[in-house]
Symmetry: D2
Subunit: 345 residues, 4 copies
């Protein structure tokens, strides 16, 4: 497997680099940059150097241009680029390499909703239907033959996986109320005053509540196929940890349910999925999944009311880890190759 990475300065690009370097099926990594070909990868890459990343082969640790990368015919291209820029930069790889895009450019199929979320038309509407949404546990079959994979957002991954099987079985009696907590790395590696340590430590708050966050439409799209339309209220919060995402979802159903019902439905959905762990009536914690590609899911029932709780590492299952999982599925590798089942102690 020859893998190209476009965009290595952010947290997801850096993590991809390290995950792929440790992945036993990847033999060569091609670092790509449209803006600084010829420069050393390690200048923008903290804590590693050419003695540590072992698979840079021909490139010798220097960025290659997009054109050059195309000529090197990578099997897979990971694009860790900003929204609305990714589709364009990757243009030359479509139909030649499998492209796994970590931006939002191919996630939302409906052009109007894309516009609503990103305040701009989708950059490549012609490819929207071709792109497979890479929520691995739900679209595994489609991913196996996909040539363009839209890697999901972190909030949609953590919110949708517990909800999807439930909403296929039960009717909703009210809105879906989601409260999500995210570590600060979710905001990316940006020199922003709002993100400096002294502003974020000992601080927490909600932001873009209700209908305002871009991920709302992506989550709603994931819930298509539910027994009823979903009225989603999604409120993210920033909390002072670096990596970790915790989602509390509250719904009311048209009938009473039991904890055993939920256990049964989620077990049917996910028993064979290596990265889903059901913790029952215990509440998951982000600690347990930190640095792992897992999602831990718990729940609590009160009559016809149901809480679903889910925890992921936003940079792993919420970004780079799921991207590698998509590669594994697409190329018929072992699904867990190069990914950790275990959280870090």
């Amino acid at each position: 497997m020859k893998a190209a990475i476009i965009g290595t300065t952010g947290y997801t690009g850096q993590l991809l680099l390290r995950l792929l370097d440790n992945h036993s099926d990847v033999t060569e990594i091609i670092p790509v940059s449209s803006s600084k070909p010829g420069e050393s990868l390690f200048d923008s890459c903290r804590g590693v150097d050419s003695s540590l990343i072992r698979k840079l082969g021909a490139t010798n640790g220097k960025f290659v241009s997009v054109d050059e990368a195309e000529r090197m015919s990578p099997d897979v291209v990971f694009a860790a680029l900003p929204h609305l820029k990714s589709a364009e930069v990757c243009g030359g790889f479509f139909d030649k390499s499998v492209v796994i895009d970590l931006s939002a450019d191919f996630r939302i199929k409906d052009e109007a909703k894309f516009f609503q979320s990103y305040n701009q038309a989708p950059p490549r509407p012609d490819l929207l239907q071709k792109a497979v949404y890479g929520l691995c546990e739900i679209y595994k079959e489609e991913i196996k033959s996909a040539d363009l994979i839209a890697n999901p957002g972190c909030y949609p991954t953590c919110t949708s996986l517990p909800l999807i099987p439930i909403l296929k079985k039960f009717h909703l009696a009210g809105p879906v109320v989601v409260n999500a907590l995210s570590g600060i790395s979710g905001a990316g590696k940006k020199a922003s005053m709002d993100l400096i340590f002294s502003e974020r430590t000992e601080n927490c708050n909600a932001y873009l509540p209700g209908k305002l966050h871009r991920h709302t439409n992506e989550i709603i799209q994931n819930l298509e196929g539910s027994l009823a339309d979903v009225d989603l209220f999604f409120t993210p919060h920033l909390v002072p940890l670096k990596r970790g995402m915790f989602v509390s979802t509250f719904i009311q159903l048209t009938q009473e349910i039991s904890s055993a019902d939920i256990q049964s439905i989620l077990t049917d959905a996910y028993a064979d999925q290596p990265f889903v762990r059901l913790v029952g009536e215990k509440v998951p914690e982000t600690y347990d999944v930190r640095c792992s590609n897992r999602i831990d899911i718990g729940w609590k029932v009160f009559g016809n009311s149901l809480y679903l709780f889910s925890a992921i590492d936003n940079l792993v299952k919420g970004a780079s880890g799921q991207a590698v999982q998509n590669m594994n599925i697409r190329f018929g590798l072992e699904e867990t190759a190069g990914l950790s089942l275990h959280g870090n102690v």
Copy 2:
């Protein structure tokens, strides 16, 4: 003003000590202990010593017994003791001194609900009706003549203040869904494995969700007088900060409302309250109220759906600061005396 403090080893007791030492109307502080009279206060008191706490007068920094403290006739007694123990230890002060109790012993008026929350009958049912619930902005008139004040819990304070005026004006169309984030100091100063730094940093999770937390009944009691019965779902979360509480409350009303409606109702309710700040459609942050006795309240409207956001310092407005505010109100002092309007930079 002569003030006694019973229980100085925990965070609320320590903070009371420092707030009262800085309070210009307090001339003498009597440290009381039933278990270690004669011992030095400073052995259980980190970072301060007899040269720093200046008002220990006759006691010379040594704990006095409860009996002895009674003979010293304090004007006010602050009880920072565990639930179900406070009422008993304070027994001798009732009718002699004003007692401000930071435990839960007098908060819930309904004996059955008290039992449900604390798994035990209220220790002094005879005093439940006499005790005034010390949510200052709501019960100020009653507090002015109270001799026994039940200082509210931190979650109920932060959740109830924004909700009370709203629910007096509008009918609910569904449950009240509260998601609360608390700093770790809310769990007290206890040598518990679950609370050690290495378990809490880079970790967050919900606990006792829905109907399970003890404060649920206290919040519901605060919402009596609403236009309809309240079906409350309250889910607290632990997040890795020391001090700070953030509450996101979601409700749906039977009619559409506007942001201006909410502004108007909350302004009517709180314009003259020095410790309430309305931030409108901005979302408050715990940073801004850290170390202050303030509550900052914001909101966001979507048709007939409403989010209320509120932030306090759980140790100040959520505990010791509100206790001092209660003293100020009860004794006709300036309400802000000894308390900070400003959060810490």
Copy 3:
């Protein structure tokens, strides 16, 4: 007392604003800005607004220009401006108001050493000798009549106070080796990639070791009057806390000493100083002084080798608090007015 503050957007300016608003001898605060006169102070001031800062009087919360501020004849001017800019902006206040300068512009008396530290000549060499170095416990007499006070740096404050009395009594047998740990707020409120939460949490490191940090010359100047020339090696470290500074100083003397010797010397030097607390052979902790204007000092002796340990809040005793202490001393107010002896719980 009418006090002007120039520069309110940074952490020290913000803290000055809140300290002075709580200070009972200050009746009016004049917010000054050379770049945005007429704009509201609160736009650059998080978590407070016009209802909270009560002393803005005539200015109504709007910045006034430097010229206008001069015409308002403040008794004292606090300059919380960048190094090398402060002396210039404050030019019009000299000889009219007492100026307390929190920048480095007047700290180092020797022009060559100033140049060495700041890579530029001192901006007002004519005033260097007139300016009194505001290390309160050492230069109290000079401060009482000073019209220009150079408020010390945080590292020099924390390092010099324990060392000065010792080095007046004993000869050194080797270099002074200082290891200092600083909270991130010491780097200021700047949108720098190096300072974002995700880069600083779970991270620590030394920087500018040995002879490289600008504060080295300031510390050496403070140690003039020692029994011998001081060969100083000073190594600061960034650690993931917001506020707090801890200094470990190692020296070897030409003779054996005892812990009682150190106790005696430091007690002689500081017994009457309200903000110095000696903790003996215990090691101080930054927790204990957080939000207080105190320095806690401890020590440990091994034969002729001596460790001195000192802890301050870098924003209080290391900056804005000491500035207020200087004002108190200069104007004959109670030295502790408006400042906390107690750390925060």
Copy 4:
């Protein structure tokens, strides 16, 4: 490879479990407990369960007794037990399995110094000379044939690796002054009041300074073979991060040196060592090595004065990772197997 782990409740035991589960040469893990044989491993093991740890084979996730574990003939035994208890519990494995002991029981060869450090005689003085000190980069040859390996302490690992090659080439002109910063996990997983989040966040301090910490004798032993006796002053500090250790070492030599001299000496010593990275005059950061088994080393020269800076993850290179590295060396596996060269993003 069949590996037994004794002691899995602490951070080092938990990390061993996960490292070995990911190690491609380990086929079976035997969890051993003297106190709770028959109980499930996962009750004391957060965030993992039987579906995740895949190599528990015959034991089915239940602890086996020490006797039983002996009968299962593991190739290697990792003892993650308290000091002074480890040697005893491991007694039955000596001469049958390779024992890698993470406690201090076999680290210090000199019985008097052991007593001085641990206030008790070494539990198995007969084995002290047989035990090989597992500082991999220094004793690799000895480790290859060792049957009992004393895995080094975290402070000695981080302090000794940069110093050893330097002190073989140069004479010291004064003491070795070491300031070390450690994350809180170094204190273990213990329900201690001193370790709770609310006491450690926003706090830092030195402890057991100078000659008082148990690791002082271990470091001195590592420096035997230096050109002169070492007078070591070692001062550890607790800083509020979970994992990470940073050491600043200051020495003065009898001659002037250059940065190139240091580069040359350290390159000669470590060029072929996969887990040593030299960063030259840059200062390493703990961020860069977090979750990796690396040590990053930097330096700074001033005439005859030298700073050495080193950073490790205290749980990996400082404990469990080095233990696995020892296993790899001892059994002729690839030295990096199962261990990460990369720190975590």
